[in-house]
Each structure stands twice: as C-alpha cells, then as structure tokens.
Point group: C2
Chain length 475, copies 2
C-alpha cells in the first residue's frame, strides 16, 4: 500500500471511528446471531489477487460490524468493563505504526524505558512502596501464572526450573485461594505443573471474602501431612461479586509460613488511585506480587495488565534465558523485559498508557471512577428498595449482584428462582438494549451488573434498571 | 476526549504515520543512546491534571521517537523481521477502536469466527491438511509452551493437570530439540515443570540441522533408563541460521515412540506459501502442532502468531476451565477461544490479518517473499565471492551468517577473529545506517543479516554490503 493510499484510507477510518464512538448507542449491545452465522458469509479460500481496500472496508461494515459485541457501548454491563478512550486508541495507532518489538532494551530503548516510567507512575498512583517494580503483561491470567512460577522457584530455591517437580513426591507444593478466586489460578496451577488437586480452596465469609481462620487451618493441616505451603492468592474484588479478601491477616499468615503472596485485583486495582478506597488495599505493601488491569477500568485499550513484583531479582531469575543471538552490549546496565515474563516478544504497550495517564491526569481518572462508583451505589439502592428484587452481595465497587425474587416464584423453591432469573437475563439481553451476565453465589443464580464503560452515565444506568424491571414484569 | 478532538488528532496522526512510513529511511535505524537516557528526561510523577494532546504528541516526537529502534526501516537487518504494512496498521486501528475482548464466542462472535476463517485461509495457503485447526497466539514462545503442555497432558492421560508431576519420579518426561532450537523451548520446559535437565539437546549436522540418528540414540538411551520420551520440537528455520530440521525422519521417530511433534517455523513458516519452498516442510502434515508468525514475515503487525493443532480436543482439554461467570447459552455449539491457550482475554487480532491477506492477495504476498529470498541469494554470492569474507551457514531463506576474515586477523587465531567481527558489528551499527545482529555457530562469532522488512529493496541490500565492507576496511 502506497503512502497516499494509506493516508486516504486512514483519514476515512479516523472519521469512521469518531462517528462510531459518538454513535455507538445506536447499535444493539449484543448481536442477535447463532454460531456459524459470520463464518458462512465469508469465503473459504483466501483471494489469489489483491483486493481494493474499499471492498475490504465495505465488508468490514456489512459482515463484521453486525457481529460485534459492543464493549464500548455505555449500556455494556457484562463481565467486567474493558473500557478505553480516545487517547488510548491514538496510542495504539502509533504503537502499531512503529511496530517495534521491545524484547530487549536495544530493540527499542524508548519502549523499555517508557514502560518503566509509566509503571512507576502507576505504582505511585496506587500507593505501592518504592521497592515494587512494574512490568506490563498481556492479561491478569498471564500475570498470575508468572506469580505462581516465581512462588514455585522461590520455594524450591530454583530447583524446579532445573530438575522439574519430580523429586518432591513427599512434599507437594500447595497453593491457597478462596473459593471465589478467578479461574486463572486453577489454569496457572495446572500449567505450572503443581496439579489442580494442590490448589486448596479456602472458605469464604458472609461477604464472600476469604476466611483467614480457614486459611490458617488449611495451612496447618497441610504442614501436618508433610506438604509444603507455597503461595496464597488473595483477591481484591472477586470476579463474581467484587468481594474483598482481607489482606492484613492473609499477609500475616504468608509471613509466618513464608508463602508467596500474590494479590489479584484485576478489576478493582484501579480503585486504589482513590484515597477513599485505599483501605480495601491495606496490607498490599506486604504482597510479593500484585496485578491489576488498566485495560479493565482505567480507560486503556485491552491488552494492558500491570504486574508489580517486590523482588524483581526472583522474577528475572525465574524467566531468564540467555541465547547468544539476543546478547547486546547493554545487558549489564539495561533492563531486558524479555526476562520479566513468559513471552519473548513485546509490543510497545506503554505508549497508550502514557497517553491516557497524561490526557486524563490523575484527577480526571479519579473523577470518572467516582462517577461509576456512585452509579453502582444508586443502582444498589434501587434494588434494595424494590421488594420484588433481592441484593445478593455487598457492593464495595461497581458490580451489583441481585435477582428478581417475586413471592410466587420464590414459593416454588430455589431452582424455580434460578430458572426464572436465567430466563429474565435472556429476555433482557435479547432486547439488544443492554448486555449483562450472570454468576452463582452460594449456589444461587445471580444477575450481575458491572458498571465501568468510559461513557456510561446516570441515564444509562437508569435505563438499565427500567428495562430489567419491565422485562421482569412482562414475563 | 470528545469525538471532535479525537477526529482532529486522529487526522494529524494519520498524516504523521503516512509521512513516517514514507520517510523512515531518514532516521538512524538504531538510536545512539545509553540506558537511562530516555527515563531521565521524563517526570517521575504522573500529572495531576489533564494535559493537552498537543503537548503529549510533541513529547512523543521529541522524547520518544529519537529513542526508537526503527523496525520499519528498510535497512533493519537485525534479529528477524517484524514486518508490517498499511492494511495491517489500519486493521489494528479498527481493532483498537472496537476494543472487544474475544474470550468467548458471545463476547464477540465476529472476532471468534473471523479468526477461524483467516486461520483456515492460512492453513490452505501453507498446505496443511484439513485436520489442523488454527488459533492466534501472541508469540511463538507462548505457542511453544502451549504445545509442550498439550504434549505433557497427552503423555500422562491428563493426570499432570490434575495431580502435578509429583508421582512420576521414576519416569521423568523427556523433550528433545536440536542445539540450535530457540530459547523458548527451554523457557517453556521450565515453566511447564518438566525441568531444564529433561530437555535433551540433539546434535546437529554440517548444515546445523537436527541429526535424526542422534535423536534416535538419545530416545533409546532414555528408554533404557526408564525415562519417558514425551515430545520433540523440530525447527524449520532456526533463529541463528535458518537451518532446516528434517521433518520426515523426525516424524518417523515421533510416530514410533508416540512423541508429540511440535514444529517451530516462527520465521520460516511464511515461506510455506511458496510452492518452490514447500519441500522444506515435507512431513509437516504429520506434526501434532505447528507455529509460525505472520508478525515476522507476512506483513502483519506484531503480535500475531499462527498456531495450528492437529487434535484440538487435546488442546481444549488441556486448557479448559469452566467458571459459572463465563458460561453462555452457546457453549455447546460455539468455539470459545479462551480454552485454546493460556490467557483468558484475547484481542481481535484476526482483523489485521484479514486486511493483509485480502489487500495483498496470496500472489502479492508470494511476490514480496520471493523478492526477499532473491536478495538474500545475491548477498550470499557477494560474501562468497569476496576472499576477505567467509560464509558460515547455508542460506535456504533470507538470513545470511558470515564473517570478515582477513588473513592477518585469522592468523592470530579464533578468538581474534571473534573480537574482530564483534568490533566490526559495533562499527557498522554505530553508523545508524543499518542495524544487524550476531550469533555464534560452532563456537564462532557470526555477523547475521536478516532480510525481510516490507520496504527492503535491492538498493538497501547493496548499501548494506557496501557499508559492511567499508567499515571492515576502515578498521
């Protein structure tokens, strides 16, 4: 593609993106499709000859766009936000244009050093001590595997990297997390060779937070059996209900038993930039590692997961490789981020984060988060005030777990209520007016509204509540 | 950022990118900097208040750009290409704007199905049988870990996921690869808990390709000791010299001993779209998994690594998790790509690949690769024809390994030659006129010229050869 052609299509696309972001409310949040609907409209064979960009972009608009779930939509309340912003999209554009691979310092000094700088900005914003060093990972799942591998290596004096797990039959390494922790802990444990059965689920309290008494008992029982407690994953803001594991008593136990303490605050971590929410992170300074995702709730394009480690030496020693073809004259004085995680290649992700942090400023980011938090409190109050609905978990952040609970259905038993709410969810989402998802808490099926898209305002949350009530009544 | 502000800055940036791509030759390929030079010019604290996009973009141009290694430069001959193209950058822009997370089908049907379609296009283009299914991973390093985990689970009937490695003391799993294989194999083996000592290095032949006789002997020796041969990683196009491991005899051994055969052709795989190069992939159809990177040499932005698996059931069973909050009504009929690798979240990477494949067409891609291959042959002939230089490896693809070998230095011994060539590399790169890197082959220090940037033409390769010779004579 010649420069002038790039320029022409680039300008067209910028206008399209601006219009899209401005007009995204006009789209159904969730497309009305069945699996295979997209695939069968696309040719099975790649084209032999070049096609005009005009044709490709037309197909994008007619074949792809109608099959997109609009994560940008202000009435996207599903899963978790993957919010973003104009400055972030522009940062991604520049990063794509530069196309660097920041695997070692020399392969793009700007990418490595800007990543160090913006990660240190984030560290200051969330109040982590200076001893923590940050690095961008693609997702919190990957960050959790990285943390588990560091834990494994520290616990075995780096012998597992060298010899594998084979010699440890009698003293299996044990990892603890609450029953509400994210599925990535299980996935990471399997991948790292611990084995799923060595993930010890810890009971939760009334607020769905990890119960430190049960943790203490489980550790003691393992020790008695000759097993080796290795790591604990605490969650600040669980995926289902944003429950808050208590970090101080968990850190006490981690200290006493020399466990690696990894804190997963994938969504909630952004709230640490708010002084009034800092209390939920008390004890975080005693963690060994910490992850939160600016690509969830800090207006930065997916993917951008901020991983902090208190002992970067352990991290680097766990992942370092040193092939001749990657050696440079700067290996002693410079940071080579290839050794800070699993993948060798690295995109220039710091650029979009730098654009966002500067464009919003810390106060601008705080203001948007406070607005989302306030809307969640309002929605919660509507749920509590309506006798037909039931709140199913505390709302410390921006996610509300609730259900429709009319007396005549409740009288038919727990399963009837579950079915009733599953059907309600389907009716709500089928309108295309909003998209929300579900979970289960204490065996009960819950509707789950997660507030945090960049342009979500009070009117969108009001509309959501109205729609949910209308659909509930129209059953 | 308001839509109009996005529009204005977006148009400015498109013009900047078009100018940059057109004028990239004016930049030094490698910046002349020391570690810390970028960091110390940036503030230690994030801004409290919003900053104007104009200020941020000015800082991008004055602080960041001068510290960028220009992977787009037509005289970038280092490492491997991470080439790209206008259509790919436009695809990334759209993908950033949509900001979807394609973790499950429902979270963006278009992203999941377009990925299935374009990966199937790639499969046809490289001549893999229909039984292979493709998925995009971030990097070949990650794809290799994924393959090793599949191998581990198949070999242990999925018991390692469940119980860990603990029970296998007497029958450690063994993995084989040539001494020239990529460092990611070692990294993956460590991460997956096999242990580095269970990676068995296989000897290479005169052309630096894996020696199947040695592989057979190593497998037999392991069996005799009661160890469990588990997987072999064959490389088509090694990182150092693009050596070609012979797939047919390796596949024979893999069959006989029921090893998982993973083929790593991160760079070279693109050449499989050329009928005249297909012979180097003979036997690939017998692999269990295969990876190559369109982000290396197929004009698609980093990251985009194409991973193919012959038995997707094993892949999915290795990685599947099933938390309530990710269940949807479509889980039986649809592909949920979250279960096809380590990370849960996934970007919409198929879009840029679709743009590239259609915009170039298969014939357009073939033409560009053939031009690069031809240039490499020419450069090789210049090296061979010059008595002052020595070719150090065959050139089946686009990488030339060579050294300057003047008689008076050669007379001083092998170490003197190594030092001489290391100094020459430094002199060449210090000009900013080109960037190349080095490796070691059979203990000898080699200069390494890797041809494959999108805009690299004959004139750039001619200029490179002239500069290298000038720097060699000016010592």
């Amino acid at each position: 593609m010649q420069a002038e052609e790039f320029r022409r299509h680039g300008h067209d696309l910028i206008d399209w993106v601006a219009d899209y972001l401005q007009g995204v409310e006009a789209y159904p949040v969730l497309p009305d499709l069945q699996p295979g609907d997209v695939r069968r409209r696309l040719p099975a064979e790649p084209p032999r000859e070049p096609e005009a960009m005009e044709t490709i972009l037309k197909d994008f608009r007619t074949l792809i766009l109608p099959a997109v779930t609009h994560w940008n939509h202000p009435r996207f309340f599903a899963y978790f936000p993957a919010n973003q912003s104009g400055p972030s999209i522009l940062g991604e554009l520049l990063s794509a244009a530069l196309g660097v691979n920041a695997m070692v310092w020399q392969s793009c000094p700007a990418a490595t050093e800007l990543e160090e700088v913006v990660m240190d900005w984030l560290r200051r914003m969330i109040g982590l001590p200076e001893s923590f060093r940050g690095v961008i990972q693609d997702t919190a799942s990957t960050a959790t595997i990285v943390a588990l591998l560091c834990a494994r290596e520290r616990a075995t004096d780096f012998a597992t990297n060298e010899h594998g797990f084979y010699a440890r039959t009698a003293a299996a390494l044990r990892v603890y997390c609450s029953r509400e922790a994210h599925s990535s802990v299980e996935k990471g444990l399997k991948a790292a060779g611990f084995g799923r059965e060595h993930l010890v689920p810890i009971a939760v309290d009334n607020e769905l937070a990890l119960d430190p008494t049960d943790l203490a008992q489980k550790i003691a029982a393992d020790r008695e059996q000759g097993l080796t407690p290795c790591a604990v994953v605490a969650t600040v803001g669980t995926t289902s209900s944003t429950a808050l594991d208590p970090l101080v008593p968990i850190a006490d136990l981690a200290d006493r038993h020399r466990l690696w303490l990894h804190v997963d605050a994938a969504l909630a971590g952004s709230a640490a930039i708010l002084p009034e929410k800092r209390a939920m992170f008390d004890g975080l300074e005693r963690a060994d590692s910490f992850v939160f995702n600016p690509h969830k709730w800090l207006f930065t394009n997916f993917d951008c997961s901020a991983f902090f480690c208190r002992d970067p030496q352990t991290l680097v020693r766990t992942f370092a490789i040193d092939p001749e073809y990657l050696r440079t004259a700067f290996d002693s004085g410079a940071t080579n981020l290839r050794d800070w995680g699993l993948a060798l290649g690295r995109r220039f992700r710091a650029l979009k984060l730098w654009f966002v942090l500067r464009s919003y400023g810390v106060e601008g980011l705080q203001a948007r988060l406070r607005e989302h938090l306030g809307l969640a409190q309002e929605f919660m109050q509507w749920v509590v005030a309506d006798p037909q609905f039931e709140l199913l978990a505390p709302v410390p952040l921006q996610t509300i777990c609730f259900r429709h609970c009319p007396p005549e259905v409740a009288a038919a038993g727990a399963e009837a209520l579950d079915r009733h709410n599953a059907a309600l969810l389907q009716r709500v989402n089928a309108t295309g007016q909003l998209f929300m998802t579900h979970t289960r808490l204490r065996e009960r099926y819950c509707l789950r509204l997660s507030i945090g898209q960049t342009e979500t305002r009070r009117e969108h949350v009001v509309a959501a509540w109205r729609l949910i009530r209308d659909c509930a009544q129209a059953r």
